[in-house]
């Protein structure tokens, strides 16, 4: 398979699955203002997903549109990070995931916007401003929950700990990213990611999650049991009424 296609698909799937999870908070967040904030973040991610999947389809050259790629692939064909598909948990767990993921995306897009592929560089250049705000939003909440009440501190720590075993996969290098010259090798982002995330965790008075077993497999289409349910909700209307428009 075409390396550039798979690479665009990886980034697009990360964004699409994150958008779907984030959207689950709409009308369920702790306050109306947070509903809108998370809604905005989810829509930013969806916009990134659309650009990336559209580009993937174009690169593949088999006539698949962004919708075909989003709605008519099965679980094993999705190559997103497992972190993105994890259930939201409580608000603190969602915020922990957003801190980990947005910091990763920010570093990645910062690199990617200077790459030699004009399309990818353009998508990254637009997205980098969006994810900078996502990082800020997550940071503000980690600080407030971590350094808040005993209850909020406990929940923030639990959230950071629960998402931690899925962060190793963010930085897993493989043959494809080493072969493809426009790709950012995620391994190169890990030190800076650690520095930034740890600075927030320390300031929040939480503690660094213990090193633990790290899950992997998302890039090869191996997922947690949660992705299937997410896809069922994401895809069922498009599959029940193929070709429907409104």
């Amino acid at each position: 398979m075409n390396d550039l296609f798979v690479y665009s698909l990886r980034l697009g799937d990360d964004a699409l699955i994150s958008a779907q999870r984030t959207a689950e908070w709409i009308a369920a967040a702790p306050q109306l203002e947070e509903d809108v904030a998370l809604g905005n973040i989810g829509l930013d991610q969806l916009g990134q997903a659309r650009s990336l999947l559209q580009y993937a389809g174009q690169v593949e050259g088999a006539g698949r549109s962004e919708d075909d790629l989003a709605y008519f692939r099965d679980e094993r064909d999705f190559v997103n990070l497992q972190l993105c598909e994890l259930p939201n948990g409580d608000f603190a767990a969602t915020i922990a995931r957003l801190l980990y993921f947005a910091t990763y995306q920010h570093l990645l897009y910062e690199e990617l916007r200077g790459c030699s592929d004009e399309q990818l560089a353009g998508i990254a250049g637009k997205a980098v401003k969006e994810v900078a705000y996502h990082v800020d939003h997550a940071t503000q909440w980690v600080l407030r929950l971590g350094d808040g009440t005993e209850e909020s501190h406990g929940r923030m720590q639990a959230g950071l700990d629960a998402m931690w075993p899925y962060t190793g996969e963010l930085f897993a290098s493989d043959d494809l990213v080493r072969r493809l010259d426009v790709a950012v090798d995620p391994a190169s982002l890990q030190d800076e990611w650690n520095r930034r995330v740890m600075a927030v965790i320390e300031e929040s008075t939480c503690t660094r999650p213990e090193s633990s077993y790290q899950h992997s497999g998302g890039r090869e289409g191996r997922h947690t049991e949660h992705l299937g349910f997410l896809l069922a909700e994401l895809q069922h209307v498009a599959r029940s009424h193929p070709g429907a428009t409104w």
Binding site: L32, E33, E34
Partner: protein, 92 residues
């Protein structure tokens, strides 16, 4: 927990004044500013935001309406249009 209420003012573009657009809840000023960004400028409504604790605003009371505002009603001479510009004064 009910969070404090903040009044939000947005300047739509350079050169104009900040205009009150609504209010929102937030735990502190930093979050109030971010919430305002998310709630009130998501469709490019502004280039600058102020947030003010609602409790810091002193408002006129509807009960004082008569003595506050009615006396201005018949003072037409307070409007510049009341005066005729003398002939020969071009650049007033």
């Amino acid at each position: 927990m009910i969070e404090p209420l903040w009044e939000v003012f947005v300047r739509s573009r350079r050169g104009l004044s900040h205009v009150h657009v609504g209010s929102l809840h937030a735990p502190d000023a930093t979050m109030a500013l971010r919430n305002a960004r998310d709630v009130y400028t998501r469709r490019q409504e502004g280039v600058s935001i102020w947030v003010v604790p609602a409790t810091d605003i002193t408002a006129s009371s509807p009960d004082e309406k008569d003595e506050f505002f009615d006396p201005a009603g018949d003072k037409v001479y307070r409007h510049p249009t009341f005066y005729e510009v003398p002939e020969g004064v071009d650049h007033l």
